[in-house]
């Protein structure tokens, strides 16, 4: 029944329909994958901002900073003024509504400078900060709030654990096609090995690691090790990618 020619047509039809369904499916899966990745990135950025906020609302930091300002109002109004601006900028950066996954390093360092200015005024001679930044990489794109939690961590485990004085060295340079950022402190390490392991691994840096992984995959690295100053050194590497110059050059 029926000629073989007629049979061929539905076969081709079936083939075409199946093929296009497969292509469409694969396509939608790809776009779903992309979407999922974007959502994850966004979630991690939000988490980084939340973490920064939590740190600023940390009563020890916030109230001691306000207490320092309230003294400076009597003794040195100009410095009090600056400290209020620095504190405001820190809050602004974490409350910011932008979803930018990357910002120029110069902006991240500016935020860091404000944070460290506050801490240095609080601790006076007890905190020594050194920043070595290669000016060539100031326009490199980095994830926002990438250095902030690491430096805060160094301060908390570094200076806030030492009665004498704390030292923090921030280094930003270029290593071939990569940006290399590192933060070292001279903090004391806990005697208990299990606490030490927890301290080494964690403390809010898991999110930083996840963000790097998602943005750069194999092109990045994140490591924590014994530092030259006696405490920890955190080192991050990521592809060097300069920000497009959006400002008109006159």
């Amino acid at each position: 029944m029926g000629s073989p020619g007629i049979r061929v047509v539905p076969d081709i039809l079936i083939y075409l329909v199946t093929m296009s369904a497969c292509v469409a499916f694969a396509h939608s899966r790809k776009s779903q994958e992309r979407e999922r990745r974007a959502i994850e990135l966004e979630a991690h950025l939000a988490q980084a901002k939340l973490q920064a906020l939590r740190m600023q609302i940390n009563p020890h930091f916030l109230f001691n900073t306000l207490n320092a300002i309230s003294t400076l109002i009597h003794t040195n109004p100009h410095t009090a003024d600056e400290m209020i601006t620095d504190l405001s900028e820190l809050f602004r950066a974490s409350l910011e509504n932008s979803d930018d996954q990357e910002i120029p390093l110069s902006r991240e360092l500016e935020l860091l400078r404000r944070y460290l200015a506050i801490e240095q005024r609080r601790f006076g001679q007890r905190l020594e900060v050194e920043q070595n930044v290669d000016p060539e990489i100031l326009n490199a794109l980095v994830p926002p709030l990438i250095l902030q939690p690491i430096v805060e961590n160094a301060i908390r485990h570094g200076i806030e654990s030492r009665a004498d004085f704390g030292r923090i060295v921030v280094h930003a340079g270029r290593d071939g096609n990569q940006v290399k950022l590192s933060v070292s402190d001279n903090g004391k390490k806990p005697v208990d090995a299990s606490i030490m392991e927890n301290q080494r691994q964690g403390i809010g840096l898991a999110n930083t690691q996840a963000r790097l992984q998602q943005l750069y995959g194999k092109g990045q690295s994140f490591s924590i090790g014994n530092g030259a100053l006696g405490g920890w050194t955190v080192e991050i590497k990521m592809p060097f990618c300069p920000a497009p110059n959006t400002k008109p050059v006159i």
């Binding site: 009563p59 001691n64 306000l66 207490n67 003294t71 009597h74 609080r122 006076g124 654990s161 005697v191």
Partner: protein, 252 residues
């Protein structure tokens, strides 16, 4: 008679604020200012102040550690000055002097001072201090770990704190003597000391901490020094007051 006050806070601007506010109080005299707990313990011993403005959260030696280290009959009145510390609130419930939260108003500060003035004339200072001290010591028991974790290569060893006989410093390392075994830790004595309850361990010198339970004798040695002899035969020269050590041993 002036009230002799001391300020203890690790942040210079925080000390300065109290300094500023005390300028207008003619009946108060500042006899010392300390940036850390260890310095405070020493200075309090020397100046014997009536009143202490004490920060709680300080590195290495906290405000509570300072009070624990003082002999019971040398306790000044204490006003805690703290950014936020649940302990300070609890402590206040036991020891009815005062605490002020940073940042504070001048009026609140004056109120605390007023309370201190009244307290100076009160009868029950000793009783309050005793209750406070008991509370502090009770806190301490839960604050110290009962065992230490020592990692060497692939092995992890747990040592019960009560099994430790003594600890000696060796450069950047510390040697833990536990029964017949020694464990080497990359840790300073100061860090280890902070891990161990001062009720059970004593720093006898720059380079040694001993378990109070293991002391067999304290004997005079040459040049007015004293030697601590442990049950395992080890001897350490004492570089702190022998009377204090004897008191600690008696209170066990």
């Amino acid at each position: 008679m002036k009230i002799r006050a001391m300020i203890v806070d690790d942040e210079p601007l925080a000390r300065k604020r109290i300094h500023l506010f005390l300028r207008d109080e003619p009946d108060l005299e500042i006899v010392g200012e300390c940036a850390g707990g260890a310095e405070a313990i020493e200075q309090i011993g020397r100046h014997n102040p009536d009143l202490l403005f004490l920060d709680v959260q300080m590195p290495e030696v906290s405000g509570f550690d300072v009070l624990r280290a003082l002999p019971a009959d040398h306790w000044p009145m204490v006003i805690f000055v703290t950014a936020h510390d649940q302990h300070a609130l609890e402590a206040f419930e036991v020891h009815a002097l005062d605490y002020i939260l940073k940042p504070f108003k001048l009026s609140r500060f004056r109120q605390a001072l007023q309370r201190a003035r009244q307290n100076l004339n009160a009868q029950d200072v000793k009783g309050q201090n005793r209750r406070f001290r008991e509370w502090l010591l009770a806190q301490e028991e839960t604050a110290y770990p009962s065992r230490l974790t020592i990692k060497s290569g692939e092995h992890t060893v747990f040592v019960e704190v009560s099994d430790v006989d003594c600890i000696e410093a060796a450069g950047n390392y510390a040697i833990l003597h536990v029964g017949g075994t020694n464990h080497i830790l990359r840790e300073t004595l100061a860090n280890l000391e902070a891990k161990l309850s001062p009720k059970r361990f004593l720093r006898v010198s720059r380079s040694a901490i001993v378990n109070l339970d293991r002391i067999k004798a304290v004997q005079p040695a040459t040049r007015g020094d004293h030697v601590v002899i442990l049950k395992n035969g080890k001897e350490f020269t004492l570089t702190r007051g022998v009377r204090e050590v004897q008191q600690r041993l008696e209170s066990l």
